[in-house]
């Protein structure tokens, strides 16, 4: 196995080992932090599909993160108040069941990604970056000013949603749920990278003309990737909302988009485990630097700058050397 492969295994195992140890040592907060890492990593894995593999620099992925969060918030709040979401033309009731919420989050964020992607992918380069940012802002302002679900105050959900057979309020069990979903996403991406679709998407990033000339529509390939990417980020948003038992418009803010992007870059763009390493590093930094100074964001900025300027492969790139793409 390659060096990167070993690093990946070490990474995913330590993400499991830390909370398990914390469970034994009675450090529940460490479990919460690890859950956060797993959920952010999932958001990053989603973005990385569009950004790393597809070369689509989306500065609007907070839109899907937020949609996933609100899918959870709206369903759970209606279940809490026993008020149906919709009565006409058909009865839709709220739910506290995680699998149903996840499916809804996947479906809705997928549909939103389809709409945003269909328009945004007509443009390229900076225009694409900016139009995705604009769609994110649109949803942000909408979520703030629409009072039905709390507006800027957000929407608190008093108890965590249910998963059959598990006690989700137990931190370690909720961690395991998030961890397993992250692992499934990683397996999916690793298969996708080697699949027909992965080949076409990767080639479209390198040369649009090449792909078009063999009769494959790059627009459709990219749109598919964008939708899948949005769905994964949407699912992570639903989990994040469940972790906090709260959703708010700040999930939609452009800083959230920036942070998800930071996870990807810190870890290493287009690396399978890049977002995992990046999210872990970000959370650790947030805690270490946050303890040192009120002005810790300066240090985060400097570090980020150093990674972009001098360590382009990110954390995994530093440890594993340059990637071997050919296969």
């Amino acid at each position: 196995m390659s060096r990167e492969g070993w690093i990946n295994i070490a990474l995913i195992l330590s993400l499991l080992a830390v909370p398990l140890w914390a469970q034994v040592a009675d450090e529940p907060f460490l479990i919460t932090l690890s859950t956060r890492v797993a959920i952010f990593a999932l958001a990053g894995v989603g973005l990385n599909l569009a950004l790393g593999l597809g070369g689509l620099v989306s500065l609007g992925h907070a839109a899907f993160f937020g949609i996933g969060g609100y899918a959870m918030g709206i369903l759970a709040s209606h279940a809490q108040s026993y008020a149906p979401i919709l009565e006409v033309p058909l009865l839709i009731e709220g739910t506290k069941s995680m699998p149903v919420i996840w499916l809804t989050a996947l479906l809705v964020s997928g549909l939103v990604a389809l709409a945003i992607g269909a328009l945004s992918l007509r443009t390229t380069g900076v225009y694409f970056i900016m139009i995705t940012l604009a769609f994110g802002q649109m949803l942000y302002y909408f979520s703030i000013s629409w009072p039905a679900y709390g507006g800027e105050d957000g929407l608190p959900i008093y108890t965590r949603n249910n998963f059959p057979g598990l006690n989700t309020l137990d931190p370690i069990q909720f961690f395991l749920i998030s961890y397993v979903i992250l692992c499934i996403a990683l397996v999916f991406i690793s298969l996708l990278t080697k699949s027909s679709f992965g080949l076409a998407l990767n080639a479209a990033r390198q040369s649009v003309r090449r792909v078009e000339t063999v009769g494959i529509s790059t627009y459709r390939v990219r749109l598919t990737a964008f939708v899948l990417s949005g769905m994964m980020t949407g699912l992570s948003g639903a989990l994040f909302a469940d972790l906090n038992r709260f959703v708010s418009p700040s999930m939609f803010s452009w800083q959230t988009s920036g942070e998800i992007m930071i996870f990807v870059i810190l870890g290493g763009t287009a690396r399978l485990f890049g977002p995992v390493a990046g999210a872990a590093l970000f959370i650790v930094l947030e805690h270490l630097l946050g303890g040192i100074s009120d002005y810790w964001l300066i240090f985060l900025g400097l570090l980020l700058l150093a990674v972009v300027l001098f360590a382009r492969g990110g954390l995994i790139g530093l440890l594993a050397g340059s990637p071997s793409r050919s296969g």
């Binding site: 328009l119 007509r122 390229t124 225009y127 769609f135 000013s145 002005y295």
Partner: protein, 306 residues
């Protein structure tokens, strides 16, 4: 709505648009010539406002304050260009987005470190304060009128600079063909630093001028940054003329939208709901405008580059 009120709102839209133009012009020039997308442009706007507030507090002179905003932002721009931006020209947009995002964190928190968390004081000088009467019985604040005139003057200077001077020629050469300016024997890195500082100075002046109207505080640059991006994308990235047209368009849409949307909804909704719906929709209006323009013309109104 009365005609006087409508005209006043149009003037407000113009004034808002002119401010956006000053911020967006530098951004679009830097992209057009260097191909660089700079998220930290809003921080230069903020630096201009802080410099103006400091100098105004120290000397009491508004003119000196505005000159300071120009000088400080230009200096900060040049410094940032030499230290960081220069290494980003031949990188892809992703690296540029990330590096300049990092610069926002550094510049914002650095400013807070130096100036503290409390907003600073900067006010309109007495000789520009208060409203004046325009023909037709319109009362309009003199300071805002000054901003419109000063902004148009700066836009005109910029046009002359680009069309009539040697530096302008080099800039235009750089826009059409980056290798060309090397052939002309121009010191490119010097030209780039100068151009970046020029863009920063424009943003800084905008910051100083706007600072007198609003609150000078950390984070004031981000909302204006996003609006400036909307402007240059609508105008076509790299086109100064496009930026001017789009600025006015965005300014008018935003100002008139926030007034007309609730009124329009009142035609078929109860007033409270109409205010709510209208306000919600008007806050999204310029983004809807941008999406519509891009769907219609994927490279903006005056854009040619892809």
């Amino acid at each position: 709505m009365s005609l006087v009120l409508f005209i006043e709102q149009v003037l407000n839209g113009f004034q808002f648009g002119i401010m956006l133009f000053l911020t967006a012009a530098g951004l679009t020039l830097v992209f057009g010539v260097m191909g660089l997308i700079n998220l930290a442009h809003g921080s230069l706007f903020m630096i201009g406002a802080f410099a103006a507030a400091s100098i105004a507090g120290w000397t009491g002179s508004f003119v000196l304050a505005i000159m300071a905003s120009l000088a400080a932002a230009a200096a900060a721009g040049a410094l940032v260009e030499v230290a960081v931006i220069r290494k980003l020209y031949d990188r892809d947009h992703l690296d540029q987005v990330l590096a300049t995002f990092a610069l926002i964190l550094i510049l914002s928190e650095g400013t807070r470190w130096i100036f503290g968390s409390f907003p600073l004081y900067l006010n309109i000088p007495s000789y520009l304060s208060g409203p004046i009467s325009l023909p037709g019985g319109i009362q309009y604040p003199l300071y805002r009128l000054t901003i419109i005139i000063a902004g148009l003057f700066i836009a005109l200077c910029l046009r002359q600079l680009i069309l009539k001077t040697r530096i302008g020629m080099q800039i235009r050469a750089g826009e059409s063909d980056r290798e060309m300016i090397a052939v002309l024997g121009v010191n490119i890195s010097w030209l780039y630093t100068l151009l970046f500082a020029l863009g920063a100075a424009l943003a800084g002046v905008a910051g100083g001028l706007v600072g007198a109207l609003q609150s000078v505080q950390v984070g004031m640059g981000e909302p204006i940054l996003i609006l400036a991006f909307v402007v240059i994308v609508i105008g076509g990235i790299g086109s100064v003329k496009g930026a001017l047209v789009a600025s006015i368009l965005v300014g008018l849409t935003d100002r008139l939208g926030s007034i007309l949307m609730p009124e329009a909804f009142k035609l078929f909704l109860p007033p409270a709901d109409a205010t709510l719906m209208g306000s919600a929709l008007s806050s999204m209006l310029i983004y809807i405008l941008m999406a519509a323009v891009l769907v219609w013309k994927p490279t903006g109104l005056y854009g040619v580059r892809v």
